[in-house]
């Protein structure tokens, strides 16, 4: 049966040994007292919450779904209790500043927390999922009075927050947003002024629910006489209950019947001259929202990783237990009867190692990105903050698109391990397939991530931040030497970096002649870079696993097991990069209108 065992030992091995996070923390004054033991304690506690409190509500929550009535939305049994335990444990404020009542821990640990929460119950995790983004928006853009009123409530999770962007006609294209914000009593529009909000929003996660006494909506809207398009968007805050305790005119008119995350209420919202206040400067709402969206994109990437881990560990367990047919070959020393564990059959070994290699690489990249995020926020040297921020801005669309793509695709491939049982709800994996699908869409579809990468992160600065990151990754080639053991990790990584570099040159060259061309191959460019990043992760893991001073932490996988997955990734998964490179480089391939 499906279960979730938090991979704390794997997480710690990657954090503390492969990526040496403690050395990085020692450079950041905010994390001065933090060491590997504290990190372990935080992760173990988070793991217990995910496994013991959340995971048991996952399958029942999928079957029950949410219930809507004109007055309220009821979440599945156990969801409110789990949320109260989450708030009581102080988890929402993990990475918030101590001044706002937070614990001031790194984004790295917050990312690991959300990986575990999603793996245990994605639907439930949607409710607190936007808290940190809302916290950042209020911290940086709200006037003091609004910060005073809402910041601590949101940091602590006492009130939940939503992000009201999408409208029926405005999905990927937020320039089409129509929701109106009219300053009250004809006041001039300015940060903090009260407004009346009118309009309809769709796909609002947690737009209504029974988890908290109040809900804080952040609403993308348009002031009177605002310019058309995205340059005329403003941001406002509108709580479900107003400061005087009265009900605001924010209504949930229904919830969607969805493929997955059925325990998450996806709401149709109606603002009927609702009371709100501007957050940030008029017509600068998208910039403020982007602060939330960037955090949200990395967060969605962690959801993909959570599903990847859940699929991987469950597939390994099932494949070890299920026996069918004799294997053509058995592990050294093993004996067997009429049928062997399917984990011994070559087709299943391939699937299992594919899943494991992806999980290890994506988690390494996720933590690498989160560490850079911490550096960008906390490093005492401004240039270090800036260069880290540049790297994060490059890695964020990749983390979002790559992890969610591999999370969903891996769950779908893992399902095959169960055969017919995989199609049956009680075995759990089919829910992972369904739940994981949404992450390729929301917070900017993966296609939009690829466009963001190519247009804004490569073409806009002539490839500068991309080259800087490549130079950094290239150090691993030298560190690995020609081979590690018998495997040419350094060579393979160099080849991947070279492909990336060639493809990028082609992009920079070709964009001038044909401005549409980069858009035609954006998806391939993102996947090409992704393979180079995974090659780097596997090389780095292999180097740690072969270093006798860095034996895997107690309770985790053996060095040999880490090596097996890294070598498999390098030999079986990297060839895919050639296809993406070929598509980017064949500049004259037709893509007609039909």
């Amino acid at each position: 049966m499906w279960e979730y065992r938090p991979p704390v030992a794997d997480m710690l091995y990657l954090m503390t040994q492969v990526l040496d996070a403690p050395a990085s923390w020692s450079e950041l004054p905010a994390f001065e007292g933090l060491d590997a033991d504290t990190a372990r304690e935080v992760l173990e506690q988070a793991g217990r919450f995910a496994a013991d409190v959340l995971a048991p509500t996952n399958a029942p929550g999928d079957l029950a779904g949410c219930t809507w009535s004109p007055e309220s939305v009821t979440t599945p049994a156990g969801f409110p209790q789990a949320y109260r335990a989450f708030v009581d444990g102080g988890w929402p404020a993990l990475a918030c500043a101590p001044e706002a009542g937070g614990q001031g821990l790194p984004q790295l640990l917050n990312a690991a927390l959300y990986e575990m929460l999603t793996a245990a119950n994605h639907a439930w995790t949607m409710y607190p999922g936007l808290l940190h983004g809302a916290y950042e928006v209020l911290l940086h853009h709200a006037v003091p009075e609004l910060r005073e009123r809402y910041l601590q409530k949101v940091a602590s999770g006492e009130w939940l927050a939503t992000m009201n962007l999408t409208e029926p006609q405005a999905g990927s294209d937020l320039g089409l947003v129509r929701t109106k914000a009219e300053p009250v009593e004809g006041a001039a529009a300015a940060n903090g002024v009260p407004v009346r909000l009118s309009g309809n929003k769709i796909f609002i996660s947690g737009g209504d629910h029974d988890l908290t006494d109040n809900i804080v909506h952040l609403v993308l809207c348009r002031l009177p006489d605002a310019p058309p398009g995205t340059k005329g968007l403003s941001l406002a805050i509108a709580p479900k209950f107003l400061p005087d305790g009265s009900r605001n005119a924010v209504f949930c008119d229904g919830i969607e019947k969805k493929m997955g995350i059925k325990g998450s209420a996806t709401c149709q919202m109606r603002f009927e001259q609702a009371q709100g206040w501007l957050v940030g400067e008029p017509n600068r709402g998208l910039a403020a929202m982007f602060l939330m969206m960037n955090a949200a994109r990395l967060h969605v990437g962690m959801q993909g990783l959570g599903h990847l881990e859940a699929a991987t560990q469950n597939a390994w367990r099932y494949a070890a237990e299920r026996v069918q047919m004799r294997a053509a070959r058995r592990p050294p020393g093993a004996t067997g009867g009429a049928a062997d564990p399917i984990a011994w059959h070559p087709a299943m070994r391939r699937t299992l190692l594919t899943l494991q290699a992806r999980t290890d690489a994506c988690r390494t990249l996720a933590y690498f990105t989160a560490m850079l995020l911490d550096e960008s926020e906390q490093h005492p040297i401004p240039q270090r903050r800036e260069s880290a921020a540049q790297a994060v801005s490059f890695l964020t669309p990749i983390a979002k698109a790559l992890f969610t793509e591999l999370g969903h695709r891996s769950a779908d491939e893992a399902l095959q391990v169960w055969g017919g049982y995989g199609f049956v709800h009680e075995f759990g994996i089919e829910q992972t397939v369904r739940d994981s699908r949404i992450a390729l869409i929301y917070e900017g579809t993966n296609e939009i991530q690829a466009i963001d990468l190519v247009m804004r992160k490569v073409l806009d600065d002539g490839g500068q931040r991309s080259r800087a990151l490549r130079a950094r990754l290239k150090e691993e080639c030298q560190a690995c030497g020609a081979t590690l053991g018998t495997v040419p990790y350094g060579h393979a990584l160099a080849a991947q970096l070279n492909l990336w570099s060639r493809a990028e040159e082609a992009l920079l060259d070709g964009a001038a002649a044909d401005p549409e061309w980069p858009l035609r191959v954006a998806d391939d460019f993102l996947m090409l870079v992704s393979h180079a990043l995974m090659a780097w992760a596997w090389a780095r893991i292999a180097r740690s696993a072969l270093d006798p001073a860095l034996a895997p932490v107690a309770g985790g996988r053996s060095a040999l097991q880490w090596l097996a997955a890294a070598q498999f990734g390098q030999e079986w998964l990297l060839p895919q990069a050639q296809v993406h490179a070929a598509r980017v480089l064949q500049r004259d391939a037709a893509l007609p209108f039909v």
Copy 2:
């Protein structure tokens, strides 16, 4: 909103012009009177049934599912009525022999029929899905008395049939089947003797339902003292109601809660000393069952094609209607406002052309295989029957694995076209994703198809039938010449056939040294051959589209549209074959036990 418009014009174009089925029919006495006009009439009628009767029950059937009680299984509203219309229309007997009350039409038309039925409602199509296989088993293996009693009822669809193979411990490994068959009153086991059946079966599609008065179960079982493994399996028939009208001791103990095809009752069956009769020789049950399974595998391939078509046509329609953002480039002569149809955006054009190119190639290959099947059954010259049968046996596992893989993956990729709406039930595509998933598993998982291809269809005859098929496909290189228009179809096809040939040489060479090696790369070999076959299909389509004598049939796509998809497939999709070839050819890549 999701709808299904039977692609009759596309079907006819491929059948009658690209593959010239009428020329083939003229060689087969059984189809002497058949011409393109008759085929059109059959397909149009079938299309009306699929679109007007079946498709409206698809989404409601998914929401309602089946209802189980100890006495019976109730199918969703409209299912029984649709089934009666299906029987009244004579559809079950389309490809059955006139002697058995059938219409004696080609398997080709039957395949096209089932493509349309699945596209319109996969869950419903599960019920009649095994009729033709059961018909073949009874026709070829049952003693006259049983044939007399059951053949016509099954051929006409008056009674539905099931295939009882799987047991909890015996999924892919049928050698582990335990269900017992004891000859009544100690009679010697022989074809046709009455037996008592005892055991439990799972995953029995249509094991119980309210569509027909009686249900005919074909049951894989084991006689007393039978040898262990697959060589001790026998086949028996056991009806729900016995000839005297009494209820047989065959019970449905429950139905599965599944990811998809929720309107199809997936039953747990219990045989309690149920009355049955052997069909075929004792201990030769698997051979008899394989007759049914091979037909079933091609049938499942057609399900994949049905989903592929449904996803493709719905994605095209939605992408033409939905407007978001300005496109970087517009079609020649087009103007637009603040936002353009998403079909103009490069990322969506790629998805849409990917879907269309796959659909066209798979349908061409499906019809090619079905025409060979007709030839193998009906050609007057024994050598022609034999060589066609060899080709069919090679193509069947590919059709099953390739079409179902692309059907599901394409539905999943198509969902992205809808953005957030794709995740919502009422837009239909998420149901296609869920429904299509099972086809990668049942009738032998796709991994088992790959093993079948490599071990039994290539290694067993030293590559003989594979070479024969390649030689046949190679004729298309000459027919295409160096280029068609500006596109080197012939060259690309030759390169694909060469890759296939090299990979096959490597397989034949390497299998002796390392018997496990072919199993490690079986999936890649199947996909490598699949790409060569698709290259052949695109070349053939392009040649027809460029032939002024073969303009597409009225009401269908223009020659330019066929060419656009073929060229896209050739330029954007064929590079993937390189990855599969690289994996097959890198013979020393590790695949350790972990």
